[in-house]
């Protein structure tokens, strides 16, 4: 009997190549696509107007692309509907986080609560030994038996940041074949195999907000959003905000301020419905508190390179555990725009040690 794997196929080039690579290795491959985004199923909106064209990560056309690739590879392919789970675990959280004045990372949350759990269950169910995705990250087994999570070989495409919350029992079941390649190599494979997706554009947007109008999306789902004061760090009122959920820490554009030098959002104070703005230099902070901790590696280091937003290399810092789920991070150099709600991931020489969620930032309280 051939060994079976389940490949999560998004219709993009990375997961298509992942499926092809597993097939080349001799596995019995089953392709699956998850539909997550709620916007697609409605052909008409309540008013009878056509729904906005969606080309998010799981639009019907991406599903079709995945099916074409699967057909070309000669593997069975299924579509799993996870819309209600996605709505509950990702979108509701996304909205709630903004309401709390934080800036969530829904892709990480989806990986944490939906994608992998669900796929692993299906994989076991279908007698598969692993779940395969097209993420740019690498897995290695440590001599002591546990699985290590490393940055992808293509550092510019590395996605380990959104995978850091995966647990050992999940990593045991996962394969990331394209993490061993560069994006160019992946596109080459797709072209050589004529998969038809080699030159497809990358999906950079949130899959459930294909029109990129996050403010509009939030406005439709949040109640009690009130305009409020914008103050500077001296306590002076300098303007009005439209409602805190529509802003993010570090933001400069769209504040409607008429100051001589540029002002940046420093803090979203939900309790007082107040935004604090300041100069770029005031965005710099040296420390933060991280909670919702999870660890890939059992050893805990006192120092690490800490990455606190997607597609940035991170910066060296000292870690200090202050409680079972509270870790203080002190950067060697002050950092710009540490944003509550975003993930903080701790690396050592390109290997993920663990990660968590930025809870508070600033020096005063730490």
């Amino acid at each position: 009997m051939k060994r079976r794997v389940l490949v999560a196929m998004s219709g993009g080039v990375d997961s298509s190549v992942a499926a092809a690579l597993m097939l080349q290795e001799g596995y019995d491959v089953i392709g699956v696509t998850m539909t997550l985004s709620p916007s697609e199923s409605q052909g008409l909106t309540a008013s009878g107007a056509p729904a906005p064209a969606s080309r998010g990560c799981c639009s019907v056309w991406d599903v079709t692309d995945a099916e074409k690739v699967a057909w070309k590879l000669g593997i069975p392919h299924y579509v799993f509907n996870l819309r209600s789970e996605f709505e509950k675990h990702v979108i509701d959280d996304f909205v709630a986080e903004y309401a709390r004045g934080r800036t969530p990372n829904p892709c990480r949350r989806c990986n944490q609560h939906i994608k992998f759990d669900h796929l692993l269950e299906r994989a076991r169910d279908l007698g598969a030994e692993a779940v395969v995705t097209g993420h740019y990250a690498r897995l290695r087994r440590h001599a002591q038996g546990y699985v290590r999570l490393l940055r992808g070989r293509d550092e510019r495409k590395d996605q380990s940041y959104v995978l850091a919350s995966l647990r050992q029992e999940q990593l045991e079941w996962i394969r990331f074949p394209v993490g061993e390649l560069t994006k160019d190599e992946v596109r080459d494979v797709a072209r050589r195999l004529e998969l038809g997706v080699a030159d497809k554009a990358e999906s950079m947007d949130l899959c459930f907000i294909p029109d990129r109008d996050t403010a509009g999306f939030l406005a439709g789902r949040l109640e009690n959003v009130q305009p409020g004061e914008i103050r500077d760090t001296g306590g002076q009122i300098v303007g009005q905000h439209r409602g805190l959920p529509f802003y993010t820490v570090g933001q400069r554009k769209g504040l409607g301020l008429t100051t001589t030098s540029p002002r940046y959002v420093l803090e979203l104070d939900v309790v007082n419905n107040r935004m604090v703005v300041g100069e770029q230099a005031e965005l710099l902070e040296r420390s933060m508190i991280v909670d919702e901790l999870s660890w890939v590696v059992p050893t805990r280091h006192a120092r690490a390179r800490v990455q606190f937003r997607a597609h940035s290399g991170g910066a060296p810092a000292a870690l200090e555990l202050q409680g079972p789920d509270r870790l203080a991070v002190r950067f060697d150099q002050p950092q710009k725009a540490l944003t509550p709600g975003q993930a903080a991931v701790f690396y050592r020489r390109g290997e993920v040690l663990g990660g968590g969620t930025i809870a508070e930032t600033g020096s005063a309280r730490l």
Partner: protein
Amino acid sequence: MRPVYLDYAATAPLLPEVRDWLTHSGFHSAGNPSSLHRYGRQARMELETARERCAAFLGARVEEIVFTSGATESDNLALTGTLEPGDHFLVSAVEHPAILERARWMGAELLPVDEGGVVRPEELARRLVPGTTKLVSVMWVNNETGAVQPIADLAALCREHGVLFHVDAVQAAGFLDLRPEQLGIDLLSLSGHKLGGLSGAGLLYVRRGLRLKQALAGGGQEDHRRAGTPNLSGLVSLGMALQRTRTDVSPLKRRLEAGLALLPGAVRLSGEAPHIAAWRFEGWRAEPILVRLDLEGIAASSGSACSSHSLEPSHVLQAMGLSEEESRGLIRFSLGWDSTEADVDRVLEVLPAQLKVAQKR
């Protein structure tokens, strides 16, 4: 091993006589039935022979048959061709989306169903507003469960109050007697591909004397009720499918259900239609079961699939009072002209093992 196809309610394998006609006989693709020349005449004869067959099947007159692109168009046309904006009309909560989506948009009132998925005539009587209600639409056989509606009683009620009655009979054709005039049905939708014809061809029966607003403007085909060059090969195959002698698949359904009933957690949801077995298995969503069956070469289905064929909870089961989670569990086996005992036995051989493997983990 012979693949097992038990999804006739989605679409049926092409009938051999249709395949023969397409490949060997006089079908001439150059003929437009509206043309003057001999090819036009031949096409016209093919088309009108098909119409005669459809009319004979329904005990209707040829002028009562409006050919369409399929049941979705027929269903839409039944509503848009008879109703004015603001008209009060009723559709059952378990209709096919072809009715339901259009009806929602036009502001229909939903007729609830009982726990068997059936519209009770007294429920219709309670909601009919004499002198105001313009139309009622209820499907003959439900496509997800095979529930058979009391069409004769519902039709009589409508007739009594002068209300138009439309029936989506897609799943009833080939399995039940369809005599719209006898029962007092004003409008009835059919499609060919569920019976082994080509897809893309259907009809709307429109009772003589009932004026239908033009659906598509154009060349005036179909007696000015539905313009456009007809899908000749599809409509000929529709006529052939309706002319075919009915296959009685009810012994196969009984055999299948006797076996399914023994499986752990099995809950029967089937209606009385002879070709649809609808079940769920306690604790199971449909998807994993259908995937396992497919990997074993058995094609079955769940009630409803969206455009990306991922499964949504069944609106039919929800209307019958099942929870959203239970409504994700519907497994539908549907039988047809080429179904055999071996097909059924293969399901009963594979399914128990698949359910057991998963429960062990």
